[in-house]
Symmetry: C2
Subunit: 158 residues, 2 copies
Amino acid sequence: MLFSTKAEYGVRLMVELGRQPGSTPISLSTVADAERLPLSYLEHLVAKLRKAGLVTSTRGAHGGYRLAMPPEEITLDVVVEALEGQVAPMECFHRMPDGRVLCSHEGDDGACATKLLWTRVQGGVTKALAGTTLAELVEFSGGGEKAVKGGEKIASAA
Amino acid sequence: MLFSTKAEYGVRLMVELGRQPGSTPISLSTVADAERLPLSYLEHLVAKLRKAGLVTSTRGAHGGYRLAMPPEEITLDVVVEALEGQVAPMECFHRMPDGRVLCSHEGDDGACATKLLWTRVQGGVTKALAGTTLAELVEFSGGGEKAVKGGEKIASAA
DNA sequence: CCAAAACCGACTGGTTCAGTAGGATTTGAG
DNA sequence: CTCAAATCCTACTGAACCAGTCGGTTTTGG
């Protein structure tokens, strides 16, 4: 498995926040209820997102979380990296601040045999993640409103 | 980290086998020595490769392993899958026998919010892996010969 | 004041990782 | 025939990570 449920739950959380149009914050328990995810686990995940500057929080009664930016400006590579840590195909692979890729065990002779492969893999993953915006996911999963099939609907913010 | 050292070591092992042109089998201890990897761990990995039909073995004295096919015909998706198990971005993602992708928790309403994302990621990874042959890695890592440890350059890589 | 909410850290059972250990079996060579 | 080299097989282990749970503190609106 490439990613753990941290990425899965965290992205679902972000999508849920991205649905809400206004600036009213949404409580975690609302999200947990809507997505059927454990609240106390979501707390850990949203903390990572907040530290990464992707969501903002307001404390106290009627508090909650909002996206820190419009969903069109949020690409999923940033989200996943915030949740899972730096995404690299292999332990020996590190992205330098200037963007270059380093393999820790390429010695005096040119290249280790696997570098070409992992470079391609990382390129594929990065392209897929960075080429997807949160707005796309919101759109894909049913637009601005939660699905209303079956008569059940979320309590409208009033 | 997307993959563990099983993929790393296993691919290095395959490349080492791919270097040898003839049909003489190479012992695991030779590979372990050349790549500086623990022999007893390599035994586990090569067992997976053998069960996947990627290498053949001959037992007894002067035995060892050979590639089951010419390296041009071996794509890395098969190798990595043999080592790591089915490569999917997420637990809920399963590739059906007919090639379709299923997300286990898409319920009555259309799609779960993350499916679009993971589909793209899996596409990127699969494309990178399936688009790379073992022959390419052998070529990239210094052709048929082992690297000369004297500051020699890999000028012939194309 | 009170309840709702964000925040924080500690803890836990389960699984995987990265090997190690100890053997059993097969085979070529002397 | 015997020995050494090799594949093959099962079991075990310490460490790390996963997926939560729990209890408690702080902030805030009504």
